[in-house]
């Protein structure tokens, strides 16, 4: 059922061609991405974490906040004194560490998604405006970003949380704000490189408005570096949120957030190694998996950049 428009264009054929083209692009992307074994392993771990987070209520052996009064600081099952019911042991108030870690995966992934979402949305908007409009607006936006970048990110996030009040939501807002300048800079640089290309001029001559030029013509061609940066920001968001939780300014107890769990475990470090070791290991594995994916994405999306 071919549909021919008045000016003789076969839209169905066009659609098919564009679908084929995107499939070919995806195949090419996957070819380069899968060349990097580490990236594939990272992706597998990340997907496993997503499944664990989604199915947390089904697979966690215990309620994460249920306190077993007869099992304070029970060691992991393979150590003397361990119980089969608590595979990774219990914490100082008798909560099952494995269940808390499983529920903690929900928090970490949620933090990553929300923070990167806010930072991307804000960063792309400001970067597009700065790069496209230029002039005073550009100078103003970039100077403000310079100011944010003049502070160490964790310190600025810490101070912002002090202003907004401790808690997970405020911690996420603060982290998104300090990660945003990277997205603004990347978008702006990409927009400035694309702005005067022939295809943009052609679209403008054809009568495209400013908004269409910015969002539909230029932006899709600036996405590669943004995707890589988003992946790397995902892991820094998790690290920073855990650090804020550790300093008592992020998620508040008894939330099973991994950084907060570490903060609660600190006083037992010399008595019960497991309460400290496992939450940190969970953070490390998650962040490592995402960074591996990030390296793979960079190789696959930008062949000019060598793997570093």
């Amino acid at each position: 059922m071919t549909e021919i428009t008045p000016n003789g264009v076969d839209t169905a054929a066009l659609d098919k061609e564009s679908r084929n083209a995107s499939r070919a692009m995806l195949a090419e992307f996957w070819y380069y991405f899968s060349q990097n074994k580490g990236a594939v392993v990272g992706l597998a771990i990340f997907l496993a974490l997503v499944i664990v987070a989604i199915c947390a209520p089904l697979i966690a052996p215990h309620d994460p906040s249920l306190q077993y009064r007869d099992s304070f600081l029970t060691p992991p099952v393979w150590q003397e004194g361990g119980k089969a019911a608590f595979l990774l042991g219990t914490d100082a108030v008798g909560r099952d560490i494995l269940s808390r870690l499983i529920f903690g995966a929900q928090y970490s992934l949620f933090i990553g998604v929300i923070v990167v979402g806010i930072a991307l949305a804000g960063g792309i908007t400001l970067g597009l405006i700065a790069g496209y409009v230029g002039g005073m607006v550009d100078t103003l936006i970039m100077r403000v970003m310079d100011i944010i970048l003049a502070f160490p990110s964790l310190l600025l996030a810490l101070v912002l949380v002090a202003v907004l009040g401790p808690g997970l939501t405020n911690a996420m807002i603060a982290i998104a704000l300090v990660l945003q300048p990277h997205f603004v800079r990347l978008t702006r640089a990409a927009v400035m490189a694309e702005r005067n290309r022939d295809y943009v001029v052609a679209a403008r001559v054809a009568g495209a408005g400013h908004l269409r030029l910015m969002v539909k013509t230029i932006l899709p061609n600036c996405l590669a570096p943004l995707i890589v940066q988003a992946t790397l920001s995902f892991s820094s968001a998790i690290l920073d949120a855990a650090a804020l939780g550790f300093l008592g300014m992020g998620a508040q107890p008894p939330t099973p957030e991994w950084g907060t769990m570490l903060a609660e475990a600190r006083e037992f470090i010399l008595r019960a190694w497991w309460v400290v070791t496992f939450p940190g290991l969970a953070i490390l594995i998650t962040v490592l998996a995402i960074n591996l994916v990030g390296d793979g994405l960079r190789d696959a999306l930008d062949p000019k950049l060598k793997r570093s």
Partner: protein, 345 residues
Amino acid sequence: MAASSYPGYGMLRFLLSRIGLLIPTFFGVTLVAFSFIRLLPGDPLELLAGERGIDPARKAELMAKMGFDKPQWQQYMDYLVNVLHGDLGTSFASKKPVLTEFLTLFPATAELAFCAIIIAVCLGIPAGIFAAVKRGSVSDQAIMGTALVGYSMPIFWWGLLLIILFSGILQWTPVSGRISLMYFFPQVTGFMLIDSLLSGQKGAFTSALSHLILPSIVLATIPLAVIARQTRSAMLEVLGEDYVRTARAKGLPPRRVIGLHALRNALIPVITTIGLQVGVLLAGAILTETIFSWPGIGKWLVDSISRRDYFVVQGGLLLIAAIIMIVNLIVDLLYGLVNPRIRHT
């Protein structure tokens, strides 16, 4: 282009343009520090008074004394004048000027950060070079794998692990502080390692070193990983250049090609990376000093935030941003000095 025939001209213009960029940023940073106290929920005096409350007459008097009754822009002007005169306010907890407190505590952080960057550079650059030269080998993969683990490390957890291992199980190092309480000597440089040597007391230097070693390793972890990764990629780029091939083709020994021709050019971007680590180090110091009870700027700021000693937080924020800006300026200038191309862009 007659002017550019002066050897120093390009550099001077470069210096001035960089400083010109810094000035608005500096004012912006003061504005952030100034707004910080005004953005806190409730007014600062009520916050300070806490649950006891404050007598309205006394409050009005204090508000006038601290200038909180003036219009905002005037308060900002007063604040700027004070900052430029080195007056950053007074700590509520200690009643000492913030700047004095900062200067007393800064050497502890500087010593820690200095040792960390030495560790990071001395291990990171050779590791990166080695990985680049042996590209694709097992050792390259091992080094880069380790670097990625280091880069992904939650350093507050890493610190706790090292304490469990070295202080708990092996009992090699103390858990916290800068030096054993047995030793007391006057502060000369503020660097405990140097002061302990100058004091001539037996065992003081060893004690200071054993306190310093774990926090420095923890703080060095991320910069080390970043420097190793950056050195490797910079080396790989340079090793593919024509002049390296020429040097090889004319029969120079590999050691000379790598050490002289490749390394000198590869180090240019690495210098920038090292400079950028200062911000990472100061942020890392917040966590490292908290874990090891290291009496430096990071722990001071975290304690002040939880004590609600807001003038300290305001002053610390401004001073740390100023340090980072100055270091970045120096790095930019060094970069311009070693890489003349950048000056003309």
